[in-house]
Subunit: 448 residues, 2 copies
């Protein structure tokens, strides 16, 4: 089969090729791919991979294009395999509390469908309204509720995967537990399209919490907020959401939205508890952070909660409005949060770049956002911004952390991934990749 | 290096060899191994594996010997590598909510050490007082709290592993989240000593729940109890523990303990909720099961909870007292629980064997226990019992379930594991095994 034999599928329109060269990562992109194939069904995926394997053509699987590491960005010579058309929710089973989905389902759509049965799909990456389940699985996406509910991996039971040679396998199972064989579901989850193409998934659903309670707090500086995070950790409570936003980011939101958040403090924490004891659990947290906070507000109804969430939800859009954000995604041990933020600030000063910090404090996961001037799309990352990013990666590793907590390695962080893993483990991982993809057609140049 | 060069380590005493040939699975054992090496430190593990790889000697890693699938049972020609002496808790970090442990730490000891900091190690297999963390990780052990807290895999962050050739690697990380590289922690977890030998682990700890509330209920028959389980699932509550015990098992407990449990009903459910809303959540569950139950008792203090837990806790010991139990471990979709139990009973009648059923209803995980007469240790499994076991495996697969939810494949279920996985996935898994262990020295004859 040649690309010419798949005329209904292949899009070689210049605009389509250009839009497939980037994602939301700030990666400047490369020469456009040779074509975009919009899969209509799983058979198309099998056909494309069998053909690509036979011809040695690179294949880059792509969902919503909302990736933050360049893993789904098309490159010269490759075929981008667009799975966004495989977007059916095949089943929601309230007795089993699971859903069967195609990979192109938008994450928020699945959660909404679950909500109709009193259930939720717990992982909620910031891109939930535009990202696909397949992309979430391919990157092992995290999200705000990760503090209590974990990441995508914790909610995937089974996968249908088309391997590099076009054969299709089903791994995992539809029961909650099961230990027959190695954990291939875990292996494919987070593999960024390098081990196979995900064409179906069975995911867990959980009861929607009976109640939620929300608190926002402002602090005189970010170190004090970080101490409050430690106090919450020690309080015995398990917040569902525990987010941090620094003063610079509050200032950016004020500039864009006309608000006055930054006068309230130089750091902001958002805490949400859920379940039958949500209010009491929030009260425990409020007591724990009271000695540190300058201002605390709580809410138990949806409208008031939404007001408290505002500062967290508008953080990235505000930064996108003032420049071109390069989004980092380090994690550090939670007790090193204050040190991490202090040293990121020093890097910003020394490199003379703007770095804004917010993130999932409950997981030690910070998103330092390096905002440069708004160059035209495709412009390379300015040297100072790249130096600052490299220094942030080095800092995360020095503090015992990771260069990427939830966004992935992609094309942006390959060199640093090898450093984090170390030579022995990197070699072992590469051998696994080679086992699954001996011809090296799956997303070459990305990830490992 | 030869075994003779490690005199301080090698035990070839006949009693030691014999005790290493079995575990708690009922597997009858084979000819004794050639020696038991009691590792004193990680260097010993590296030395033994390097030597075994060079000489083509089989190595069977073993912890507490409490396995339920024969995976750690020594066989002719192999060296059993006993890790129970590597039993130090290296660190409990309440700020990070994690622990660093050697593999021989007894699971209950870790939980107790965590409790001193207001924390818990959530996975609680039935063998918690005799099993080791290393064994729990090697089998991806489950437990009673799995209904809410998941299995061992969900609580392991990083592993130190000695590979087949004696090299040591560190996989995973000490942060809660992280997506650099493939999920090798998941791959090693549940691999039953076939990919490497676990010599260290970083595990998550969680806040010990502020409160727990417990309920026991008796039902006229097990189908009615299964319907109650479905009602609980649909209630919006998330029990931490949801266990089922059938009437035959209640009768066995009565016979051994002198109690009168079975007059209360032909099926028993145990439900525990925890957290700040434990009592309210339990009330929601009590309301959901009320239409089905013949008798309900609740408790919120520890002593009363312990009384309610009695019937579940004494189930296996009672069966061990009346004969020789062959412990099965299937899981089925939760909505098929009633059908599964009904058909297991039919199998018992048709094969004329005694089968007792209890298990983790919240996960659809049933432990049908086939109790035969108490033959001498090492006697083969009677033909009728083996036929009944095979039919139970087939039933689990027919109902869309798995042959092993939490005990593992080991030497008992290899043939059935291949059937469950199917030829393609089994071949893929075997290639992964070969990649990690090209000479085939790690636990040959077990698992895949």
């Amino acid at each position: 089969m040649t690309l010419v034999e798949l005329p209904a599928l292949v899009d070689t329109d210049a605009a389509a090729l250009l839009s497939a060269t980037t994602d939301r990562s700030g990666w400047p992109g490369a020469a456009p791919p040779r074509g975009v194939v919009r899969a209509r069904d799983v058979g198309d995926v099998r056909d494309v991979l069998a053909w690509a394997n036979a011809t040695g053509t690179s294949v880059i699987a792509r969902g919503g294009g909302s990736g933050l590491a360049g893993a789904a960005a098309g490159v010269d010579g490759a075929v981008v395999l667009d799975l966004s058309g495989l977007d059916r929710i095949l089943a929601i089973d309230p007795d089993e509390q699971l859903a069967r989905v195609e990979p192109g389902v938008i994450t928020a759509d699945l959660d909404a469908a679950a909500a109709a049965h009193g259930l939720m799909y717990a992982p909620d990456p910031g891109s939930v309204s535009i990202s696909t389940i397949g992309g979430n699985i391919a990157t092992n996406a995290g999200g705000l509720r990760g503090a209590k509910y974990g990441v995508t991996r914790d909610h995937v039971l089974a996968l249908d995967v088309v391997l590099a040679d076009g054969t299709q396998v089903h791994v995992g199972r539809d029961t909650i537990k099961g230990v027959t064989g190695y954990d291939l579901v875990g292996l494919f989850t987070g593999s960024e399209g390098t081990l196979g193409v995900i064409v179906g998934a069975t995911v867990r659903l959980l009861p929607r919490p009976a109640r939620t309670a929300t608190l926002s707090a402002y602090f005189s500086d970010i170190e004090t907020a970080a101490h409050a995070v430690s106090a919450i950790t020690r309080s015995g409570a398990r917040p569902a959401v525990l987010e941090i936003v620094d003063g610079q980011t509050l200032g950016a939101i004020d500039a864009v939205e006309g608000t006055d958040l930054r006068v309230r403090g130089e750091a902001f924490l958002l805490v949400q508890t859920d379940g039958f004891g949500a209010e009491e659990e929030l009260a425990v947290i409020a007591a724990a952070l009271a000695p540190f906070a300058a201002l605390v507000e709580t809410a138990t109804d949806a409208a008031a909660s939404d007001r408290l969430l505002f500062a967290r939800r508008r953080a990235l859009p505000a930064l996108e409005a003032i420049g071109r954000p390069l989004i980092e995604d380090v994690a550090v041990p939670r007790s090193r949060l204050a040190e991490a933020v202090r040293r990121i600030r020093a890097i910003a000063e020394e490199e003379n770049v703007r770095i804004f910090v917010f993130g999932h404090a409950g997981d030690g996961n910070l998103h330092p956002i390096i905002v440069t001037e708004s160059e035209p799309a495709g412009a390379p990352i300015p040297a100072a911004a790249q130096r600052a990013a490299d220094r942030i990666f080095a800092l995360a590793l020095e503090l015992g952390g990771t260069i990427t907590a939830e966004h992935g390695v992609g094309r942006l962080k390959r060199e640093w991934a090898a450093r984090e893993l170390g030579a022995d483990v990197h070699a072992l991982q590469t051998r696994i990749r080679d086992l699954f993809d001996p011809r090296g057609i799956l997303n070459p140049g990305s990830s490992l």
